[in-house]
């Protein structure tokens, strides 16, 4: 996966969320965004995932410029998967229906195909026993895993995960991180933001540190964690690694 961003800026009214952000990632399977809250990780991910449009700047992903038209962005969202921190599932639909509905209505599968695709995806993550449950009957970790199953069911080119475990307790965090690691090992392209530094270090091919809407540090995990050059990044890491 190749990513190239030059002078990306995003503001909401007068508020600047991303300020002249540039990054060059020649090749990576798993790209991890780390950094303090409010630093712009979510905004950056939402732009990459086609949920938000840049105010200015150029973004190229997998060698293609990000689309700008509404139709282009819709296509972009359909080719990729996106998972938020929480409340991803549609609460009025069973876990299974959460998967089959987009497969039928977005990806044009017929109900039989959609059912077998969805069941396969749930089965793969050990969720098949929960297929008929409503989201409110699942634990937070199970909900996130069903969310990931939905995001990868149609075979996305890139899976975007925005702090997928921030709302979970440690045990559920572990079960979700294991699943993400599994996907990474199988070769899924993933761009995620996380506060789990150990996970980022172990699983990422490339880590970017974002603060105040800007990339402060970017490189392989050994370099970013082992030998950061930016003072802000050094301070952040020494603080979060202390405990």
């Amino acid at each position: 996966m190749k990513l190239s961003v030059t002078s990306l800026t995003k503001h909401y009214g007068a508020h600047v969320a991303l300020q002249d952000l540039s990054i060059e990632v020649p090749t990576a399977r798993v790209l991890c965004l780390i950094g303090p809250s409010g630093g712009g990780k979510s905004t950056f991910l939402r732009i990459l995932g086609g949920l938000e449009t840049p105010s200015s700047g150029a973004v190229s992903l997998l060698g293609e410029a990000l689309p700008e038209s509404a139709d282009g962005l819709l296509t972009h969202r359909r080719r990729n998967g996106f998972l938020f921190q929480q409340f991803n599932l549609f609460p009025h639909l069973s876990a299974l229906r959460n998967l089959t509905l987009p497969l039928e209505k977005v990806h044009g599968q017929n109900p039989t195909e959609a059912l077998s695709t969805a069941r396969a995806a749930l089965d793969r993550f050990g969720l098949i026993d929960h297929a008929d449950k409503l989201p409110s009957q699942l634990s937070g970790g199970q909900q996130q895993r069903v969310g990931i199953a939905r995001a990868i069911a149609a075979g996305p080119r890139i899976l975007f995960l925005d702090e997928p475990t921030s709302a979970l307790d440690p045990e559920m965090t572990a079960e979700v991180l294991e699943l993400i690691q599994e996907l990474a090992a199988e070769g899924q392209n993933i761009i995620l933001s996380t506060h789990e530094m150990g996970f980022a270090r172990a699983v990422a091919d490339h880590v970017a540190f974002l603060a105040a809407g800007h990339i402060e540090e970017s490189g392989p995990p050994s370099q970013v964690f082992g030998n950061p050059t930016s003072p802000i990044c050094q301070r952040f890491l020494s603080r979060v690694m202390r405990y």
Binding site: R77, N88, F90, P91, H92, P102, L134, S136
Partner: protein, 258 residues
């Protein structure tokens, strides 16, 4: 402690029962001969039934009409054009801040009857009934629109985001994600609104729609009997109670889904 509460409850029951009994005795002793004759409603059953059927027809018509008006107002207010948005808002405020009775009188005698009565009659329609349905639809639709808007607004942002993320089109987002959830949330309010609609239909007697309240008034003025009000009450209850019952059942069914 518990037995004391039970004792108090018993005392309250006796008090209420006593009060009710006193009211009944007082009412029945004040009735004069001829006020209360149960052979007459049977004689006039055709008239009463005709009125009741008109009430049902009126309610069903206004149910469909007000749903349409409500949806139009919902989409109108979410429309990107400010003029459309503000027109809807103005209409809503006007309808909600004037009495239905006044709207019916003005709407019928000043606006609709002079403009459309002839046309409707020439088509063989009952002009009072049709205009009544339209006016009631506009009134109830304004409330319905506000209920629906509240429902849509109450759906958290995360649902819009998730629906966009899975690749739904704007229409699909509404159709598969927002609307079904909004509907579940506003179901009790919606049922309440439909009960109000049925009750409000009794006001259409002022423009001469021959629904059940109109017919009972006609009956009472012909027979000087008061017993006609009993079928009137029962006639409305027969329509509204099932809606309240079904609504509470559905509400329980949907409860765990959100």
């Amino acid at each position: 402690m518990l037995s004391k509460q039970r004792l108090l409850n018993l005392a309250a029951a006796l008090l209420i029962l006593g009060g009710f009994a006193w009211l009944c005795v007082a009412v029945f002793t004040s009735l004069k001969d001829g006020d209360w004759n149960w052979s007459r409603p049977w004689e006039y059953r055709e008239l009463l039934l005709r009125g009741w059927r008109t009430t049902i027809l009126l309610s069903l018509g206004a149910l469909a009409g007000s749903t349409l008006v409500g949806l139009l107002l919902l989409f109108g207010q979410r429309c990107g054009l400010p003029v459309v948005k503000w027109t809807c808002r103005l209409f809503l405020e006007f309808v909600r801040e004037t009495p239905l009775l006044v709207q019916l009188l003005v709407g019928y005698f000043v606006i609709f009857a002079p403009l459309f009565s002839r046309t409707f009659e020439s088509w063989g329609w009952n002009d009072k009934l049709v205009i009544g349905v339209i006016l009631l639809s506009l009134f109830e639709g304004a409330y319905l629109g506000e209920i629906l808007r509240g429902g849509v607004d109450s759906i958290p942002r995360a649902q819009w985001d998730s629906a966009r993320a899975v690749g739904f089109t704007p229409f699909q987002i509404q159709r598969y994600v927002i609307f079904p959830q909004a509907l579940r949330r506003v179901l009790p309010a919606l049922a309440g609104q439909f009960v109000s609609l049925i009750k409000d239909s009794s006001l259409l007697s002022v423009i001469g729609v021959q629904e059940v309240a109109y017919q009972v008034k006609a009956y009472t003025s012909q027979t000087y009997g008061l017993e006609g009000y009993v079928p009137l009450v029962l006639g409305y209850l027969a329509l509204t109670a099932p809606i309240a019952f079904i609504s509470s059942r559905l509400e329980r069914r949907f409860h765990h889904e959100t």
